[in-house]
């Protein structure tokens, strides 16, 4: 058997230095992997809502880890505690690390006080994806919505986060808007803090 006679040295994650986060892989490698994630989850569900929920769950676990990683590496173990702070952290820092650029826009919903939107003309995960007609409004951005929810939730800002296609005038492809609806408690706390 392989390894018999050798003393096995299990690498301890905590003892290896944290990478600087500058390493890259090819976009195709990620696209292939993401496509498998979607295809696998398609085999596990009966409807679109369920599929989006599963992609969101997968994203959530990425978001929770990204928050921890970035707070530790870039922010000296501090994290944002105010609503606008955490939103701009997601829109700028998280986006830049994950997708190599700041998100195209961050807006406050006009109809509801508790809604915010992050929009991206061409979301990385949607780059190579076209949605079949029979799948209606399904958006693979659910994965990114999950990442956002993971970051917010782990930072103490529970929210419902969803991804939507928004048609753009003069553009062939719709942009993706990540809609963030914060829980009531978040807004109450925010109001209290003044």
């Amino acid at each position: 058997m392989i390894g018999v006679g050798k003393i096995k040295q299990y690498a301890n994650v905590l003892e290896t230095p944290l990478s600087k986060g500058k390493q890259e892989v090819s976009l195709s490698a990620f696209a292939f992997l993401f496509s498998e994630l979607v295809q696998y989850n398609q085999t596990q569900v009966d409807n679109i809502a369920e599929l989006e929920r599963r992609l969101e769950d997968a994203g959530y676990s990425v978001g929770a880890r990204i928050l921890e990683l970035l707070c530790h590496r870039d922010k000296g173990n501090r994290r944002e505690t105010r609503l606008l702070g955490i939103l701009s952290f997601v829109h700028s820092t998280v986006w830049k690390v994950l997708f190599g650029k700041v998100a195209d826009s961050l807006e406050k919903g006009t109809e509801h006080e508790d809604e915010y939107m992050i929009s991206e003309k061409e979301l990385l995960v949607n780059r190579f994806i076209s949605i079949p007609k029979d799948m209606g409004t399904f958006n693979c951005g659910a994965f990114v919505a999950g990442i956002v929810r993971g970051v917010l939730d782990s930072a103490g800002f529970p929210a419902v986060v969803t991804a939507h296609f928004v048609p753009m005038e003069g553009q062939q492809r719709p942009r993706t808007t990540i809609l963030i609806k914060f829980a009531e408690e978040v807004l109450r706390r925010e109001a209290r803090l003044g």
Binding site: I2, V13, Q23, E24, V25, S28, E36, I66, L124
Partner: protein, 186 residues
């Protein structure tokens, strides 16, 4: 047409678009975690990861051939070199080397210099039988099958299991003769 020299893995990797390796790593982690929750048995997860890799390999070979200018390899040795020196580099940005050839040149090992899949990863006691990177072996198997080589790809060393390197053993089972999907007179 005059044969074009194959491009180096470094040159291709430099010319393609990139994404942050941490996004890749964490997404892969999310997939593995999902599989562990869904399938429960570690053995089944290994199988599913291999299948996913196979699906990727089947598609990835097109991009590999299109971008690398690699033409038909004369023997399995050249094939293994192309995978290690060009394939791993152009997709994952990591180098690899080929060693441990057997006497008849049908079985070798590919040792990875680095492995972006395993950052932040530690196998818990409940997952000791897991081949965490099994997707990679599937990719190699799938890609080779598309160029008429049936192979068996297994992990012989895995750092997550306490070994000192990541080593894939690639064993050529048989070369499938290429057949035209159509008859000449049609």
């Amino acid at each position: 047409m005059a044969p074009v020299a194959p491009r180096s893995g470094d040159a291709i990797f430099a010319s393609v678009e990139h994404v942050n390796a941490e996004l890749f790593t964490l997404t892969y982690g999310a997939i593995v975690r999902q599989l562990l929750t869904d399938l429960e048995e570690v053995e089944e997860v290994n199988k599913q990861l291999d299948q996913m890799g196979y699906n990727i390999g089947v598609r990835l070979i097109d991009e590999f051939l299109a971008k690398s200018n690699v033409s038909r390899c004369v023997d399995f040795k050249e094939t293994a070199d192309a995978i290690a020196k060009i394939g791993f580099k152009m997709f994952l940005g990591v180098g690899a080397s080929v060693t441990n050839w057997d006497a008849d040149g049908t079985c070798c090992s590919i040792v990875l210099d680095d492995n972006p899949l395993v950052d932040f990863v530690e196998l818990p006691d409940t997952c000791q039988g897991l081949y965490y990177c099994n997707i990679l072996s599937g990719v190699v198997r799938g890609a080779l099958e598309m160029v008429s080589m049936k192979t068996e790809v297994t992990w012989v060393r895995d750092m997550l299991r306490g070994d000192d390197a990541f080593e894939l053993q690639v064993k050529l089972l048989k070369q499938v003769p290429e057949e035209y999907p159509y008859k000449d007179d049609e």
